[in-house]
Symmetry: C2
Subunit: 570 residues, 2 copies
């Protein structure tokens, strides 16, 4: 990108190379010229398992990574071929050409056009491209893809697709550096983050974001009010629509794919938070509330929302309608303030759609388990089935230090009920800023939640991964079990703590039971005795009878063979 002229970070090393036992592979698109990257786990049996891959070119040994140059421009040709955007202004960024029809994926989908981005998504998701188009056209899914983010490997967020996860990154005035943030982005996508938000504050916001964008294979989101506030020295009352708009335009030109906009924090809702246990906990929400109070005027994001739509439409930036009044504690869950704002978000969703702008809607936060489903139901009704994007939710407040777990519980359940993207929470939530290890812990916990939700939703193909891993476990293929794990490195390390010897990797027992007590081994005996394999499925009742006869006939054989449950170790 021509705007990629900021000073490079001091350190430019990032995590590269495939995950243990995997390689980057490609599926062909319908035309044959589309190559869609996937993660292929190579098994010791000669078979392989192909999984959705968020890691980008970093896991491809054939791509030379240089963060100072940025990633290859996968979408550049597609964008050029459409011919409906042009470079504008001094910074050389693209936007919709004057007089062109709307350039958003929503507009294309509504016009019946299947874009290359949609084709890419269809191959990744294993669904027909027409399904992708139809979901986007109906507003039930978004495909966040700024025309100024050609490095993006397109993905979709919607309940018909795999549940996605977002990882928040960002330095703050207190700590962190650009170098760390770029590596955190690479690291987060390596472990499965489908999208990242750069929530940086402080002096280097623009530069940090530039480096992240030029190196991000996933959509990048921001909360523009943070940068706008920097422009006015951190004094919310000095914010103006014009300052905010100019900030948004700069970010649109940079390539930000989705933006959190707290346009639902209305002046009249602010008093509803006064009697809450934990008030307003959204940073953006509190900034807008402060502005409203200081001026005693309506939120300028609300009053200028149609103008904002026009800006975002020109770059195909997706709205993430922020829940500035989300509850910050179990006590405040599903309260009047939250639901009042949700009603406004529903109104804004329709306005955005009128301008062909893609929309997703943010949700809580902190919710006890029995009220999680209600959040999805209300959001769907009120926001016309726009994709739901929730932070957690945390299902209890009592475990700071473990909020990746308190919230993975809520995330799995809300994903099952239809939330399309889950914003991760790290172990440092409420306590500090996440480091690299925390980012990984948060991503893994949320991949678990998302996959548990996919299984519960019955997403076609989701269970193949579980089945492959369970087969490896049952057949004592330890290496395959590690390689199929969400985190192969940790799985192997934990195994090796107890049984480090290489021979144990192929041993027909494991450290839980030792060589003399292996229940899985017995199961193989049962299967052998009954003359069936695990793959047989036909004629259940009859098969059972046959097996029983077989067992009776073979009982003596079992005893004659020495009644050995466990084969001697090689």
């Amino acid at each position: 990108m021509s705007s990629f002229s900021v000073t490079p970070p001091r350190s430019t090393s990032v995590s590269t190379g495939p995950l243990a036992g995997s390689r980057r592979t490609w599926l062909a698109g319908p035309g044959g010229d589309l190559r869609v990257p996937m993660r292929e786990v190579m098994l010791s049996t000669g078979a392989s398992v192909v999984l959705y891959d968020t890691s980008g070119p970093y896991t491809d040994p054939d791509v030379e990574i240089d963060v100072r140059r940025g990633l290859p421009l996968l979408r550049a040709g597609w964008l050029a071929a459409r011919g409906d955007t042009a470079a504008s202004g001094g910074r050389g960024a693209r936007r919709a050409s004057a007089g062109s029809e709307a350039v958003t994926q929503l507009a294309y989908a509504r016009r019946g056009e299947i874009t290359r981005e949609m084709e890419f998504v269809a191959v990744r998701e294993g669904l027909p491209a027409e399904v992708v188009r139809a979901e986007i056209a109906a507003g039930r899914a978004v495909l966040p893809a700024n025309v100024n983010h050609p490095e993006l490997e397109p993905m979709a967020i919607g309940r018909a697709f795999l549940v996605k996860i977002n990882a928040n990154l960002g330095n703050s005035a207190v700590t962190s550096s650009i170098e760390e943030e770029v590596e955190k982005m690479v690291w987060a996508t390596r472990w499965g983050a489908d999208a990242v938000m750069d929530l940086s504050t402080g002096a280097d916001i623009h530069r940090t974001r530039e480096w992240i964008l030029r190196n991000a294979p996933v959509p990048v989101g921001t909360v523009p009010i943070y940068e706008a506030l920097e422009q006015v020295g951190g004094r919310p009352e000095e914010l103006t629509w014009e300052i905010y708009r100019d900030t948004v335009i700069r970010q649109c030109e940079q390539g930000v794919d989705y933006m959190t906009v707290h346009a639902g924090v209305l002046l009249r809702y602010v008093p509803l938070t006064a009697r809450r246990r934990t008030g307003i906990v959204s940073r953006g929400g509190s900034i807008l509330a402060a502005w409203c109070l200081a001026h005693h005027e309506e939120n300028f994001l609300y009053t200028h929302f149609t103008e904002l739509c026009e800006v975002l439409a020109a770059y195909d930036v997706t709205f993430s309608l922020g829940d500035g009044l989300r509850p910050g504690s179990i006590s405040d869950a599903n309260d009047e303030a939250q639901l009042a704002e949700l009603a406004t978000l529903g109104e804004l969703t329709q306005i955005a759609w009128e301008h062909d702008v893609q929309v997703m809607v943010e949700g809580p936060g902190h919710v006890p388990l029995h009220r999680v489903e209600e959040n999805v139901r209300l959001q769907r009704e009120i926001c016309h089935d726009a994709p739901f994007y929730t932070l957690g939710p945390l299902t209890t407040d009592i475990a700071p230090g473990y909020d990746h777990i308190t919230s993975a519980i809520g995330a799995a359940v809300i994903g099952w009920h239809g939330t399309a993207m889950l914003c991760y929470v790290t172990p440092k939530e409420h306590l500090g800023l996440p480091d690299r290890d925390d980012v990984k812990a948060g991503v893994i916990a949320y991949k678990i939640a998302a996959h548990a939700a996919d299984l519960a939703k019955g997403h076609p193909g989701a269970r193949a991964w579980d089945d492959a891993l369970s087969d490896a476990r049952f057949e004592f293929r330890w290496e395959d079990q590690f390689h199929l794990a969400l985190d192969p490195d940790t799985a192997r390390a934990y195994h090796d703590e107890t049984l480090p010897a290489p021979a144990a990797k192929s041993a027909h027992f494991c450290s839980m039971c030792g060589p003399h007590f292996c229940s899985m081994k017995l199961s193989h005996q049962v299967r052998a005795q009954s003359g069936t394999t695990g793959d047989e499925t036909a004629g259940d009742d009859m098969a059972t009878e046959v097996i029983e006869d077989g067992l009776r006939a073979k009982a003596e054989e079992f005893t004659a063979g020495g009644n050995r449950l466990y084969l001697p170790l090689a």
Copy 2:
């Protein structure tokens, strides 16, 4: 206990002292002579929060801990006062006196008697003692309390009570030592384990268990078939009812409070597992299946079940009816083998109740989220509302190394739907034996799941903990937030990584936003402007109007005051 004559372990140091910011306190029972220990978290405001406490005398600085002597005999006087047990045999253990009525808590409850154990539980749970008695009498709850475990601080397991968690301990032939297992028990209860199971295998089973029991303030469970198998050199086909019975009696005499008995693994169910993806994964289940196959006879635990009831009744040992055919993968969840065994467990539940023996029923294992509730519904129907005790369940198979999380998700949901006790899973599940850190990780994950379930069930009083922590968070009382955390040490350590200075502990900002962006600070401003406190609840609509008027009147004040959202740091 007179049987406490085994060789002491080499190392006798265990974790003692209160959790940071807490002290052991006591609630008085109805008669005034009952002292029920609780954990009192002392807040900087002068207030305190009283929580259920599983840690036993180890967190009481006034008790001198000597693991070679064992814990004080809390129940000795109660048992003696009842006068219905007597020492028997050479080992000096107590059992029901000849000619006495049944000595189980179930029998007492059915006779309308509220025991001291029930009173103790009532105070701990904050419920009337009559509720405790009635739940036990109906079989909906158990109070596992062997007459030979006088060190026990009684607890109850049932859906009317707080959801409990069990931690599995135990060395194996491969690794671990007695010393480590005793410390793991102390460590597990320190962080919240309500019960522990000693699953040791190998030569030192009896001695390990003795040391755990004499030092355990919580119920201790076992799987006697493991020790019986040791008696026959690890050859399942050589097991007999007599060998098993004698093993059980020794364990009853030692003080084991509940025993997993796989009496539902019937010969005719074994072939149902042949076409499973992962066969039989229960160690006990596989041992019994092997026996059934070798002899082609019905499981001796099933054919001798009434005799087993008579043994357990004499010591008030609680059945934990094992699910030997539980699924070992998502693929096998809720299958025919599992449900066939469940039907038998329902039959056995009633037989045990006819013998006044307390019963809980074990459950899976691996279950996708959308089939979790079905497990509880079927278990309740088929097993006549006997308490359900589940292992997890894991909601996906793809994350070895993180199965404390995959299963905490399932555990929270199954607990919400009525499971009474959750058996923890550690990060080492499927990979190795848990060390001390893994035990803590498993316990914390399961305390989160249990508490999330308590909140969702609406257990009276459960939310007070969340509210206290959220209040501390909103009021920037960092020390209180740490002390109220499930794990105060980790919460503090994570905070200190980002902001180590002592001043930051009282700072009115935190490391997530830095001093200039604090959303919570704004909320205080809103509350101050509107002239309300978080505690006001009356007249919502009118109050809102008053607040809005107040806001309008005070908007100028806000601006006149410099529009400061954030007070200068002291």
